[in-house]
Amino acid sequence: MSATLPEQRRSARGLWAYFWLGVLFQYIPLWLLVVLSVNDSRTLSLPFKGFTLQWYQRILETGALMASFQNSIVVALVSASLAVALGTIAGLAITRTRFPGRRLLAVATMVPMVVPAIALAVALLVTLVFLGVDLGRPTVIIGHTVFAIPYTALLVAVRFAGINRNLEEAAMDLGATRWSVVRRVYVPLAAPALVPAFLFALVLSFDDFDLAFFLSGSDQTLPVYFFSGLRRPQLLPPIVALQSLIVMGTTIAIVIWEIVRVRLARRGKVDVA
Protein backbone atom coordinates (compact mmCIF):
# COMPACT_ATOMS: atom_id res chain seq x y z
CA MET A 1 0.00 0.00 0.00
CA SER A 2 2.66 2.52 -0.95
CA ALA A 3 1.04 5.01 -3.29
CA THR A 4 -2.49 5.61 -2.03
CA LEU A 5 -4.93 7.17 -4.42
CA PRO A 6 -7.68 9.46 -3.12
CA GLU A 7 -10.16 6.76 -4.09
CA GLN A 8 -8.37 4.26 -1.87
CA ARG A 9 -8.24 6.67 1.03
CA ARG A 10 -11.96 7.25 0.74
CA SER A 11 -12.75 3.54 0.69
CA ALA A 12 -10.36 3.02 3.63
CA ARG A 13 -12.31 5.64 5.57
CA GLY A 14 -15.52 3.81 4.75
CA LEU A 15 -13.99 0.53 5.93
CA TRP A 16 -12.87 2.09 9.20
CA ALA A 17 -16.36 3.44 9.80
CA TYR A 18 -17.75 -0.03 9.10
CA PHE A 19 -15.23 -1.65 11.45
CA TRP A 20 -16.03 0.65 14.37
CA LEU A 21 -19.75 0.20 13.76
CA GLY A 22 -19.13 -3.57 13.94
CA VAL A 23 -17.22 -3.19 17.19
CA LEU A 24 -20.03 -1.05 18.59
CA PHE A 25 -22.57 -3.69 17.61
CA GLN A 26 -20.53 -6.41 19.32
CA TYR A 27 -20.25 -4.43 22.54
CA ILE A 28 -23.61 -2.63 22.84
CA PRO A 29 -25.61 -5.71 23.93
CA LEU A 30 -23.01 -6.53 26.57
CA TRP A 31 -22.97 -2.98 27.91
CA LEU A 32 -26.75 -2.99 27.94
CA LEU A 33 -26.66 -6.05 30.20
CA VAL A 34 -24.16 -4.40 32.51
CA VAL A 35 -26.59 -1.45 32.76
CA LEU A 36 -29.50 -3.78 33.42
CA SER A 37 -27.51 -5.60 36.11
CA VAL A 38 -27.45 -2.43 38.25
CA ASN A 39 -31.06 -1.51 37.46
CA ASP A 40 -33.40 -1.55 40.46
CA SER A 41 -35.96 -3.73 38.70
CA ARG A 42 -36.85 -7.40 38.97
CA THR A 43 -37.47 -7.88 35.28
CA LEU A 44 -34.13 -6.96 33.68
CA SER A 45 -35.69 -4.47 31.30
CA LEU A 46 -35.66 -0.77 30.60
CA PRO A 47 -36.57 1.90 31.68
CA PHE A 48 -33.84 2.48 34.21
CA LYS A 49 -35.47 2.72 37.63
CA GLY A 50 -32.48 3.51 39.79
CA PHE A 51 -29.03 2.23 40.71
CA THR A 52 -28.65 -0.82 42.90
CA LEU A 53 -25.99 -3.37 43.71
CA GLN A 54 -28.44 -5.81 45.28
CA TRP A 55 -28.16 -8.28 42.38
CA TYR A 56 -24.42 -8.44 42.91
CA GLN A 57 -25.02 -9.15 46.59
CA ARG A 58 -27.45 -11.86 45.59
CA ILE A 59 -24.75 -13.70 43.60
CA LEU A 60 -23.12 -14.88 46.80
CA GLU A 61 -26.46 -15.73 48.38
CA THR A 62 -27.59 -17.88 45.45
CA GLY A 63 -26.05 -21.27 46.20
CA ALA A 64 -27.00 -22.91 42.88
CA LEU A 65 -25.45 -20.04 40.92
CA MET A 66 -22.18 -20.23 42.86
CA ALA A 67 -22.13 -24.02 42.48
CA SER A 68 -22.59 -23.75 38.71
CA PHE A 69 -19.85 -21.11 38.53
CA GLN A 70 -17.53 -23.41 40.46
CA ASN A 71 -18.44 -26.35 38.20
CA SER A 72 -17.63 -24.25 35.14
CA ILE A 73 -14.24 -23.25 36.52
CA VAL A 74 -13.26 -26.79 37.54
CA VAL A 75 -14.48 -28.29 34.25
CA ALA A 76 -12.68 -25.62 32.19
CA LEU A 77 -9.37 -25.99 34.04
CA VAL A 78 -9.32 -29.80 34.01
CA SER A 79 -10.56 -30.23 30.42
CA ALA A 80 -8.17 -27.56 29.09
CA SER A 81 -5.23 -29.27 30.83
CA LEU A 82 -6.22 -32.67 29.46
CA ALA A 83 -6.84 -31.28 25.98
CA VAL A 84 -3.44 -29.58 25.92
CA ALA A 85 -1.64 -32.70 27.17
CA LEU A 86 -3.40 -35.08 24.78
CA GLY A 87 -3.34 -32.59 21.89
CA THR A 88 0.39 -32.01 22.33
CA ILE A 89 1.19 -35.73 22.35
CA ALA A 90 -1.10 -36.34 19.37
CA GLY A 91 0.36 -33.37 17.48
CA LEU A 92 3.87 -34.65 18.16
CA ALA A 93 3.03 -38.18 17.06
CA ILE A 94 1.34 -36.94 13.88
CA THR A 95 3.98 -34.42 12.79
CA ARG A 96 7.19 -35.98 14.10
CA THR A 97 6.93 -39.75 13.84
CA ARG A 98 6.00 -42.32 11.22
CA PHE A 99 4.00 -45.35 12.20
CA PRO A 100 1.16 -47.34 10.68
CA GLY A 101 -2.12 -45.71 11.65
CA ARG A 102 -0.66 -42.21 11.84
CA ARG A 103 -3.13 -40.83 9.33
CA LEU A 104 -6.00 -42.53 11.10
CA LEU A 105 -4.97 -40.78 14.32
CA ALA A 106 -4.78 -37.49 12.40
CA VAL A 107 -8.33 -37.97 11.13
CA ALA A 108 -9.69 -38.98 14.54
CA THR A 109 -7.99 -35.98 16.16
CA MET A 110 -9.62 -33.53 13.77
CA VAL A 111 -13.09 -35.09 13.59
CA PRO A 112 -14.62 -33.35 16.66
CA MET A 113 -13.94 -30.00 14.98
CA VAL A 114 -16.25 -30.81 12.08
CA VAL A 115 -19.07 -32.46 13.99
CA PRO A 116 -21.94 -30.33 15.34
CA ALA A 117 -21.58 -30.28 19.12
CA ILE A 118 -25.10 -31.58 19.71
CA ALA A 119 -24.41 -34.76 17.68
CA LEU A 120 -21.24 -35.40 19.69
CA ALA A 121 -23.16 -34.66 22.89
CA VAL A 122 -25.95 -37.11 22.05
CA ALA A 123 -23.42 -39.81 21.06
CA LEU A 124 -21.61 -39.38 24.40
CA LEU A 125 -24.87 -39.22 26.34
CA VAL A 126 -26.31 -42.46 24.96
CA THR A 127 -22.95 -44.15 25.47
CA LEU A 128 -22.81 -43.08 29.11
CA VAL A 129 -26.39 -44.27 29.58
CA PHE A 130 -25.46 -47.54 27.86
CA LEU A 131 -22.49 -48.00 30.18
CA GLY A 132 -24.50 -46.94 33.21
CA VAL A 133 -22.22 -43.98 34.04
CA ASP A 134 -23.80 -41.16 36.08
CA LEU A 135 -23.73 -37.70 34.54
CA GLY A 136 -21.79 -34.96 36.30
CA ARG A 137 -18.60 -32.95 36.21
CA PRO A 138 -16.39 -35.82 34.95
CA THR A 139 -18.66 -36.49 31.99
CA VAL A 140 -18.67 -32.81 30.99
CA ILE A 141 -14.87 -32.83 31.30
CA ILE A 142 -14.70 -35.81 28.93
CA GLY A 143 -16.95 -34.06 26.40
CA HIS A 144 -15.05 -30.77 26.55
CA THR A 145 -11.69 -32.51 26.24
CA VAL A 146 -12.76 -34.40 23.12
CA PHE A 147 -14.18 -31.18 21.72
CA ALA A 148 -11.02 -29.14 22.37
CA ILE A 149 -8.37 -31.69 21.27
CA PRO A 150 -8.50 -30.73 17.55
CA TYR A 151 -7.77 -27.10 18.36
CA THR A 152 -4.96 -27.77 20.83
CA ALA A 153 -3.42 -30.42 18.52
CA LEU A 154 -3.59 -28.05 15.55
CA LEU A 155 -2.07 -25.09 17.41
CA VAL A 156 0.76 -27.25 18.75
CA ALA A 157 1.30 -29.19 15.50
CA VAL A 158 1.85 -25.97 13.56
CA ARG A 159 4.57 -25.11 16.06
CA PHE A 160 6.15 -28.59 15.93
CA ALA A 161 6.20 -28.52 12.14
CA GLY A 162 8.41 -25.43 12.33
CA ILE A 163 11.06 -27.06 14.53
CA ASN A 164 14.26 -28.02 12.76
CA ARG A 165 14.71 -31.79 12.71
CA ASN A 166 18.45 -31.38 13.07
CA LEU A 167 17.84 -30.46 16.70
CA GLU A 168 16.28 -33.86 17.28
CA GLU A 169 19.10 -35.63 15.48
CA ALA A 170 21.77 -33.65 17.27
CA ALA A 171 20.23 -34.47 20.63
CA MET A 172 20.06 -38.15 19.75
CA ASP A 173 23.62 -38.19 18.44
CA LEU A 174 24.63 -36.79 21.79
CA GLY A 175 22.97 -39.74 23.45
CA ALA A 176 19.52 -38.47 24.31
CA THR A 177 16.68 -40.99 24.26
CA ARG A 178 13.58 -40.20 22.21
CA TRP A 179 11.64 -39.43 25.36
CA SER A 180 14.21 -36.98 26.62
CA VAL A 181 14.20 -35.33 23.19
CA VAL A 182 10.48 -34.80 23.66
CA ARG A 183 10.94 -33.49 27.17
CA ARG A 184 14.05 -31.39 26.62
CA VAL A 185 13.68 -30.25 22.99
CA TYR A 186 10.11 -30.39 21.75
CA VAL A 187 8.11 -29.35 24.81
CA PRO A 188 10.28 -26.28 25.59
CA LEU A 189 10.25 -25.22 21.93
CA ALA A 190 6.49 -25.69 21.73
CA ALA A 191 5.86 -23.78 24.97
CA PRO A 192 4.80 -20.56 23.20
CA ALA A 193 1.97 -22.51 21.53
CA LEU A 194 0.94 -24.31 24.71
CA VAL A 195 -0.30 -21.14 26.42
CA PRO A 196 -2.66 -20.02 23.64
CA ALA A 197 -3.79 -23.65 23.22
CA PHE A 198 -4.63 -23.83 26.91
CA LEU A 199 -6.45 -20.48 26.87
CA PHE A 200 -8.40 -21.47 23.78
CA ALA A 201 -9.50 -24.77 25.33
CA LEU A 202 -10.36 -22.92 28.54
CA VAL A 203 -12.62 -20.46 26.74
CA LEU A 204 -14.16 -23.22 24.63
CA SER A 205 -15.11 -25.12 27.76
CA PHE A 206 -16.23 -22.15 29.83
CA ASP A 207 -18.46 -20.89 27.04
CA ASP A 208 -19.85 -24.25 25.93
CA PHE A 209 -23.55 -24.81 26.29
CA ASP A 210 -24.41 -27.63 23.87
CA LEU A 211 -22.26 -30.40 25.36
CA ALA A 212 -22.74 -29.35 28.98
CA PHE A 213 -26.51 -29.24 28.50
CA PHE A 214 -26.59 -32.97 27.73
CA LEU A 215 -23.70 -34.19 29.85
CA SER A 216 -23.74 -32.21 33.10
CA GLY A 217 -26.62 -33.98 34.88
CA SER A 218 -27.14 -32.22 38.19
CA ASP A 219 -23.68 -30.59 38.11
CA GLN A 220 -24.92 -27.72 35.95
CA THR A 221 -22.26 -25.44 34.49
CA LEU A 222 -22.83 -21.69 34.37
CA PRO A 223 -24.27 -21.60 30.82
CA VAL A 224 -26.63 -24.49 31.63
CA TYR A 225 -27.79 -22.77 34.81
CA PHE A 226 -28.22 -19.54 32.83
CA PHE A 227 -30.33 -21.38 30.27
CA SER A 228 -32.55 -22.90 32.94
CA GLY A 229 -32.87 -19.41 34.46
CA LEU A 230 -34.38 -18.13 31.24
CA ARG A 231 -37.50 -20.10 32.02
CA ARG A 232 -37.64 -18.78 35.58
CA PRO A 233 -37.09 -15.01 35.23
CA GLN A 234 -36.85 -14.48 38.99
CA LEU A 235 -33.48 -16.30 38.86
CA LEU A 236 -32.08 -14.07 36.15
CA PRO A 237 -30.89 -10.82 37.80
CA PRO A 238 -28.07 -12.38 39.87
CA ILE A 239 -27.01 -14.53 36.89
CA VAL A 240 -26.73 -11.46 34.69
CA ALA A 241 -24.84 -9.67 37.48
CA LEU A 242 -22.30 -12.50 37.64
CA GLN A 243 -22.02 -12.55 33.83
CA SER A 244 -21.44 -8.79 33.92
CA LEU A 245 -18.60 -9.33 36.37
CA ILE A 246 -17.11 -11.92 34.00
CA VAL A 247 -17.48 -9.51 31.06
CA MET A 248 -15.77 -6.71 33.00
CA GLY A 249 -13.07 -9.01 34.37
CA THR A 250 -12.25 -10.41 30.95
CA THR A 251 -12.20 -6.94 29.40
CA ILE A 252 -9.78 -5.69 32.06
CA ALA A 253 -7.58 -8.78 31.64
CA ILE A 254 -7.43 -8.28 27.86
CA VAL A 255 -6.63 -4.56 28.20
CA ILE A 256 -3.83 -5.29 30.70
CA TRP A 257 -2.48 -8.07 28.47
CA GLU A 258 -2.46 -5.77 25.42
CA ILE A 259 -0.66 -3.04 27.36
CA VAL A 260 1.95 -5.51 28.59
CA ARG A 261 2.35 -6.91 25.09
CA VAL A 262 2.84 -3.47 23.53
CA ARG A 263 5.33 -2.54 26.26
CA LEU A 264 7.28 -5.75 25.75
CA ALA A 265 7.31 -5.29 21.98
CA ARG A 266 8.57 -1.72 22.41
CA ARG A 267 11.28 -2.81 24.81
CA GLY A 268 12.26 -5.49 22.33
CA LYS A 269 12.69 -2.86 19.66
CA VAL A 270 14.76 -0.66 21.98
CA ASP A 271 16.99 -3.63 22.80
CA VAL A 272 17.56 -4.32 19.14
CA ALA A 273 18.47 -0.67 18.54
Binding site: M1, L15, W16, F19, G22, F25, Q26, Y27, P29, L30, L32, L33, L36, T43, P47, L86, G87, I89, G91, L92, I94, T97, R98, F99, G101, R103, L105, V107, A108, V114, P116, I118, A119, L120, V122, A123, V126, T127, F130, I149, A153, L154, R165, E169, D173, R178, V182, D207, F209, D210, F213, F214, F226, L230, Q243, I246, T250, T251, I254, V262
Partner: protein, 317 residues
Protein backbone atom coordinates in the same frame (compact mmCIF):
# COMPACT_ATOMS: atom_id res chain seq x y z
CA UNK B 1 -7.76 -37.09 -9.76
CA UNK B 2 -7.83 -37.49 -6.04
CA UNK B 3 -11.25 -37.16 -4.46
CA UNK B 4 -11.80 -35.82 -0.96
CA UNK B 5 -12.70 -39.33 0.18
CA UNK B 6 -9.15 -40.45 -0.48
CA UNK B 7 -8.18 -39.10 2.94
CA UNK B 8 -9.41 -42.30 4.53
CA UNK B 9 -7.87 -44.65 2.07
CA UNK B 10 -4.41 -43.14 1.83
CA UNK B 11 -2.02 -46.03 2.12
CA UNK B 12 0.84 -46.22 4.50
CA UNK B 13 2.79 -48.28 1.98
CA UNK B 14 3.05 -45.23 -0.28
CA UNK B 15 6.61 -44.38 -1.33
CA UNK B 16 8.66 -43.16 1.57
CA UNK B 17 9.27 -39.41 1.75
CA UNK B 18 12.48 -38.38 0.03
CA UNK B 19 15.47 -38.37 2.38
CA UNK B 20 15.96 -35.03 4.04
CA UNK B 21 19.11 -33.06 3.49
CA UNK B 22 20.03 -33.61 7.11
CA UNK B 23 19.98 -37.38 6.67
CA UNK B 24 23.41 -37.21 5.10
CA UNK B 25 24.84 -35.87 8.32
CA UNK B 26 23.64 -38.82 10.41
CA UNK B 27 26.38 -40.75 12.13
CA UNK B 28 24.26 -43.80 12.85
CA UNK B 29 21.73 -45.27 10.51
CA UNK B 30 18.29 -44.66 12.03
CA UNK B 31 16.58 -47.68 13.46
CA UNK B 32 13.14 -47.75 11.79
CA UNK B 33 11.76 -50.35 14.20
CA UNK B 34 12.63 -48.20 17.19
CA UNK B 35 11.28 -45.06 15.53
CA UNK B 36 8.04 -46.83 14.77
CA UNK B 37 7.79 -48.19 18.30
CA UNK B 38 8.29 -44.68 19.61
CA UNK B 39 5.51 -43.42 17.33
CA UNK B 40 3.19 -46.05 18.77
CA UNK B 41 4.16 -45.13 22.33
CA UNK B 42 3.43 -41.47 21.72
CA UNK B 43 0.17 -42.18 19.95
CA UNK B 44 -1.06 -44.64 22.58
CA UNK B 45 -2.59 -42.21 25.04
CA UNK B 46 -4.42 -39.86 22.64
CA UNK B 47 -5.52 -42.87 20.57
CA UNK B 48 -6.94 -44.56 23.64
CA UNK B 49 -8.78 -41.38 24.63
CA UNK B 50 -10.28 -40.90 21.19
CA UNK B 51 -11.14 -44.58 20.90
CA UNK B 52 -13.02 -44.49 24.20
CA UNK B 53 -14.71 -41.12 23.89
CA UNK B 54 -15.12 -40.60 20.15
CA UNK B 55 -15.09 -43.91 18.28
CA UNK B 56 -16.92 -45.94 20.91
CA UNK B 57 -19.71 -43.31 21.27
CA UNK B 58 -20.27 -43.35 17.52
CA UNK B 59 -20.53 -47.16 17.58
CA UNK B 60 -22.90 -47.08 20.56
CA UNK B 61 -24.93 -44.36 18.82
CA UNK B 62 -25.35 -46.70 15.86
CA UNK B 63 -26.39 -49.52 18.20
CA UNK B 64 -29.00 -47.28 19.85
CA UNK B 65 -30.38 -46.27 16.47
CA UNK B 66 -31.15 -49.94 15.78
CA UNK B 67 -33.25 -50.34 18.94
CA UNK B 68 -37.02 -49.86 18.96
CA UNK B 69 -37.96 -46.18 19.37
CA UNK B 70 -39.31 -44.82 22.64
CA UNK B 71 -36.91 -46.44 25.09
CA UNK B 72 -34.44 -44.81 27.49
CA UNK B 73 -32.79 -47.97 28.78
CA UNK B 74 -30.81 -50.09 26.35
CA UNK B 75 -32.04 -53.33 27.86
CA UNK B 76 -35.71 -52.28 27.93
CA UNK B 77 -36.58 -54.67 25.11
CA UNK B 78 -34.89 -57.28 22.98
CA UNK B 79 -33.79 -57.28 19.40
CA UNK B 80 -32.56 -54.92 16.74
CA UNK B 81 -34.85 -53.23 14.25
CA UNK B 82 -34.92 -50.44 11.70
CA UNK B 83 -38.13 -49.14 13.26
CA UNK B 84 -36.49 -45.95 14.65
CA UNK B 85 -35.19 -45.08 11.18
CA UNK B 86 -38.58 -45.83 9.62
CA UNK B 87 -40.50 -43.72 12.15
CA UNK B 88 -38.20 -40.72 12.12
CA UNK B 89 -37.39 -40.62 8.43
CA UNK B 90 -41.12 -41.03 7.85
CA UNK B 91 -42.01 -37.98 9.92
CA UNK B 92 -42.39 -35.14 7.39
CA UNK B 93 -42.01 -32.49 10.10
CA UNK B 94 -38.50 -33.76 10.93
CA UNK B 95 -37.36 -33.90 7.33
CA UNK B 96 -38.81 -30.45 6.62
CA UNK B 97 -37.08 -29.12 9.73
CA UNK B 98 -33.74 -30.51 8.61
CA UNK B 99 -34.18 -28.90 5.19
CA UNK B 100 -35.24 -25.59 6.70
CA UNK B 101 -32.31 -25.70 9.14
CA UNK B 102 -29.83 -26.25 6.30
CA UNK B 103 -31.28 -23.24 4.44
CA UNK B 104 -31.22 -21.04 7.56
CA UNK B 105 -27.65 -22.04 8.39
CA UNK B 106 -26.61 -21.45 4.79
CA UNK B 107 -27.86 -17.86 5.05
CA UNK B 108 -26.20 -17.42 8.44
CA UNK B 109 -22.83 -18.59 7.09
CA UNK B 110 -23.26 -16.55 3.91
CA UNK B 111 -24.12 -13.30 5.72
CA UNK B 112 -21.49 -13.85 8.42
CA UNK B 113 -18.78 -14.24 5.76
CA UNK B 114 -20.06 -11.34 3.63
CA UNK B 115 -20.32 -8.99 6.60
CA UNK B 116 -16.99 -10.00 8.13
CA UNK B 117 -15.02 -9.78 4.88
CA UNK B 118 -14.61 -5.97 4.99
CA UNK B 119 -13.45 -6.25 8.61
CA UNK B 120 -10.90 -8.93 7.76
CA UNK B 121 -9.76 -6.93 4.72
CA UNK B 122 -9.33 -3.73 6.69
CA UNK B 123 -7.37 -5.44 9.46
CA UNK B 124 -5.16 -7.54 7.20
CA UNK B 125 -4.41 -5.04 4.43
CA UNK B 126 -4.88 -1.52 5.82
CA UNK B 127 -4.69 -1.46 9.62
CA UNK B 128 -0.92 -2.00 9.80
CA UNK B 129 0.86 -3.04 12.99
CA UNK B 130 -2.21 -2.43 15.15
CA UNK B 131 -4.12 -5.20 13.40
CA UNK B 132 -3.79 -7.82 16.14
CA UNK B 133 -4.99 -5.44 18.84
CA UNK B 134 -7.99 -4.50 16.69
CA UNK B 135 -8.68 -8.13 15.84
CA UNK B 136 -8.74 -9.12 19.51
CA UNK B 137 -10.99 -6.12 20.15
CA UNK B 138 -13.65 -7.55 17.87
CA UNK B 139 -13.15 -11.23 18.74
CA UNK B 140 -12.98 -10.78 22.53
CA UNK B 141 -16.69 -10.19 23.20
CA UNK B 142 -17.48 -13.23 21.08
CA UNK B 143 -15.45 -15.42 23.42
CA UNK B 144 -17.11 -14.28 26.61
CA UNK B 145 -20.56 -15.75 26.62
CA UNK B 146 -22.51 -17.04 23.74
CA UNK B 147 -25.72 -17.37 25.77
CA UNK B 148 -25.26 -13.95 27.30
CA UNK B 149 -25.04 -12.40 23.86
CA UNK B 150 -28.18 -14.22 22.77
CA UNK B 151 -29.95 -13.04 25.87
CA UNK B 152 -28.72 -9.50 25.32
CA UNK B 153 -30.18 -9.52 21.84
CA UNK B 154 -33.47 -10.77 23.13
CA UNK B 155 -33.48 -7.98 25.71
CA UNK B 156 -32.90 -5.51 22.90
CA UNK B 157 -35.41 -6.80 20.38
CA UNK B 158 -38.27 -7.95 22.65
CA UNK B 159 -41.56 -6.08 22.94
CA UNK B 160 -40.40 -4.60 26.28
CA UNK B 161 -36.84 -4.37 24.98
CA UNK B 162 -34.48 -1.48 24.44
CA UNK B 163 -35.17 -0.97 20.75
CA UNK B 164 -38.95 -0.89 21.12
CA UNK B 165 -38.67 1.35 24.19
CA UNK B 166 -36.64 3.84 22.18
CA UNK B 167 -38.97 3.65 19.17
CA UNK B 168 -42.02 4.17 21.39
CA UNK B 169 -40.40 7.10 23.24
CA UNK B 170 -39.52 8.76 19.95
CA UNK B 171 -43.05 8.22 18.71
CA UNK B 172 -41.79 6.32 15.66
CA UNK B 173 -44.18 3.51 16.37
CA UNK B 174 -47.53 3.38 18.13
CA UNK B 175 -47.10 -0.11 19.55
CA UNK B 176 -44.12 -2.42 20.15
CA UNK B 177 -42.87 -4.10 16.98
CA UNK B 178 -43.55 -7.82 17.34
CA UNK B 179 -41.80 -9.13 14.23
CA UNK B 180 -38.31 -8.54 15.65
CA UNK B 181 -38.42 -11.73 17.69
CA UNK B 182 -39.73 -15.29 17.67
CA UNK B 183 -39.41 -16.16 14.02
CA UNK B 184 -36.76 -17.71 11.81
CA UNK B 185 -35.67 -14.31 10.55
CA UNK B 186 -34.67 -13.36 14.11
CA UNK B 187 -32.74 -16.63 14.46
CA UNK B 188 -30.77 -15.94 11.27
CA UNK B 189 -30.03 -12.35 12.32
CA UNK B 190 -28.86 -13.29 15.81
CA UNK B 191 -26.76 -16.26 14.65
CA UNK B 192 -25.13 -14.11 11.98
CA UNK B 193 -24.30 -11.51 14.60
CA UNK B 194 -22.84 -14.16 16.91
CA UNK B 195 -20.63 -15.63 14.17
CA UNK B 196 -19.27 -12.50 12.43
CA UNK B 197 -16.10 -12.25 14.55
CA UNK B 198 -15.26 -15.94 14.03
CA UNK B 199 -15.93 -15.85 10.30
CA UNK B 200 -13.44 -12.98 10.05
CA UNK B 201 -10.57 -15.10 11.40
CA UNK B 202 -9.80 -17.44 8.44
CA UNK B 203 -10.36 -14.60 5.95
CA UNK B 204 -7.98 -12.41 7.93
CA UNK B 205 -5.36 -15.17 8.04
CA UNK B 206 -5.61 -15.66 4.28
CA UNK B 207 -5.52 -11.95 3.38
CA UNK B 208 -2.59 -11.39 5.68
CA UNK B 209 -0.50 -13.94 3.75
CA UNK B 210 -1.28 -12.28 0.44
CA UNK B 211 1.88 -11.30 -1.40
CA UNK B 212 1.86 -7.47 -1.67
CA UNK B 213 3.99 -7.72 -4.82
CA UNK B 214 1.00 -9.17 -6.65
CA UNK B 215 -1.08 -6.12 -5.79
CA UNK B 216 1.75 -3.79 -6.75
CA UNK B 217 2.17 -5.66 -10.04
CA UNK B 218 -1.55 -5.35 -10.80
CA UNK B 219 -1.40 -1.62 -10.16
CA UNK B 220 1.76 -1.19 -12.20
CA UNK B 221 0.00 -2.88 -15.07
CA UNK B 222 -2.69 -0.22 -14.83
CA UNK B 223 -5.43 -1.99 -12.91
CA UNK B 224 -7.67 0.28 -10.87
CA UNK B 225 -7.91 -0.46 -7.12
CA UNK B 226 -11.38 -1.84 -7.74
CA UNK B 227 -10.15 -4.11 -10.51
CA UNK B 228 -7.14 -5.16 -8.47
CA UNK B 229 -9.48 -6.18 -5.68
CA UNK B 230 -11.91 -8.07 -7.91
CA UNK B 231 -9.30 -9.82 -10.05
CA UNK B 232 -6.44 -10.41 -7.58
CA UNK B 233 -7.30 -9.95 -3.93
CA UNK B 234 -10.75 -11.54 -3.89
CA UNK B 235 -9.88 -14.71 -5.86
CA UNK B 236 -6.76 -15.25 -3.78
CA UNK B 237 -8.74 -14.86 -0.55
CA UNK B 238 -11.40 -17.40 -1.57
CA UNK B 239 -9.89 -20.28 0.44
CA UNK B 240 -10.26 -18.10 3.55
CA UNK B 241 -13.83 -17.29 2.55
CA UNK B 242 -14.71 -20.96 2.11
CA UNK B 243 -13.00 -21.85 5.39
CA UNK B 244 -14.94 -19.08 7.15
CA UNK B 245 -18.18 -20.28 5.61
CA UNK B 246 -17.80 -23.86 6.80
CA UNK B 247 -16.32 -22.74 10.11
CA UNK B 248 -19.75 -21.16 10.70
CA UNK B 249 -21.93 -23.62 8.78
CA UNK B 250 -21.00 -26.91 10.44
CA UNK B 251 -21.25 -26.01 14.15
CA UNK B 252 -24.41 -23.95 13.55
CA UNK B 253 -26.22 -26.93 12.01
CA UNK B 254 -26.80 -28.32 15.50
CA UNK B 255 -27.52 -25.06 17.29
CA UNK B 256 -30.59 -25.12 19.49
CA UNK B 257 -30.06 -22.43 22.15
CA UNK B 258 -30.56 -19.55 19.71
CA UNK B 259 -33.82 -20.90 18.36
CA UNK B 260 -34.98 -21.66 21.90
CA UNK B 261 -34.31 -18.05 22.91
CA UNK B 262 -35.34 -15.96 19.94
CA UNK B 263 -36.93 -18.41 17.48
CA UNK B 264 -40.38 -19.15 18.83
CA UNK B 265 -42.36 -21.88 17.05
CA UNK B 266 -41.53 -20.49 13.61
CA UNK B 267 -37.77 -20.49 14.18
CA UNK B 268 -37.36 -24.01 15.56
CA UNK B 269 -34.28 -25.73 14.22
CA UNK B 270 -33.29 -29.36 13.87
CA UNK B 271 -31.26 -29.12 17.08
CA UNK B 272 -34.44 -28.24 18.98
CA UNK B 273 -36.08 -31.41 17.67
CA UNK B 274 -33.13 -33.54 18.77
CA UNK B 275 -33.19 -31.90 22.17
CA UNK B 276 -36.94 -32.54 22.47
CA UNK B 277 -36.66 -36.19 21.46
CA UNK B 278 -33.74 -36.79 23.85
CA UNK B 279 -35.73 -35.09 26.60
CA UNK B 280 -38.77 -37.35 26.02
CA UNK B 281 -36.61 -39.53 26.54
CA UNK B 282 -36.45 -41.52 23.31
CA UNK B 283 -32.80 -42.40 22.76
CA UNK B 284 -33.14 -44.55 19.62
CA UNK B 285 -34.94 -41.69 17.83
CA UNK B 286 -32.41 -39.21 19.19
CA UNK B 287 -29.66 -41.44 17.82
CA UNK B 288 -31.30 -41.59 14.37
CA UNK B 289 -31.73 -37.80 14.24
CA UNK B 290 -28.13 -37.28 15.38
CA UNK B 291 -26.92 -39.64 12.66
CA UNK B 292 -28.86 -37.53 10.13
CA UNK B 293 -27.07 -34.45 11.44
CA UNK B 294 -23.72 -36.28 11.26
CA UNK B 295 -24.45 -37.11 7.62
CA UNK B 296 -25.26 -33.50 6.72
CA UNK B 297 -22.10 -32.31 8.47
CA UNK B 298 -20.02 -34.97 6.71
CA UNK B 299 -21.49 -34.05 3.32
CA UNK B 300 -20.74 -30.36 3.84
CA UNK B 301 -17.24 -31.34 4.99
CA UNK B 302 -16.65 -33.17 1.71
CA UNK B 303 -17.81 -30.10 -0.21
CA UNK B 304 -15.48 -27.95 1.91
CA UNK B 305 -12.54 -30.28 1.26
CA UNK B 306 -13.20 -30.17 -2.47
CA UNK B 307 -13.50 -26.37 -2.53
CA UNK B 308 -10.39 -25.96 -0.40
CA UNK B 309 -8.56 -28.66 -2.40
CA UNK B 310 -7.68 -30.46 0.80
CA UNK B 311 -6.84 -34.02 -0.10
CA UNK B 312 -5.55 -35.12 3.21
CA UNK B 313 -6.02 -34.11 6.82
CA UNK B 314 -2.28 -33.61 7.14
CA UNK B 315 -2.81 -30.62 4.83
CA UNK B 316 -4.61 -28.99 7.72
CA UNK B 317 -1.60 -29.00 9.99
Amino acid sequence: VSTPTSQNTTTESAPKPPPRASARARHRPPDPTKARAFGFQLAALPSLWLLLFLVLPVVVLLLWSLRPPGIASFTATDGFTLEAFRVNLGTPVFIASLGRTIVMVFFVAFFAVALSYPIAYLLARIAGPRRYVLLSLIVAPALISYLLRLFAWRSMLGSGGALNTVLLELGLTGEPLGFLLYNRFAVVVVLTYVWIPFAALPIFARLEQLNPNLLAAAQDLGASPRRTFLRVTLPLSLPGVYAGFFFVFIPTLGDFATAALVGGADGRMFGNIIRGVIGTPDYPSGAVLSIMLFMVAAASMLIAFRLLRIKDVSDLA
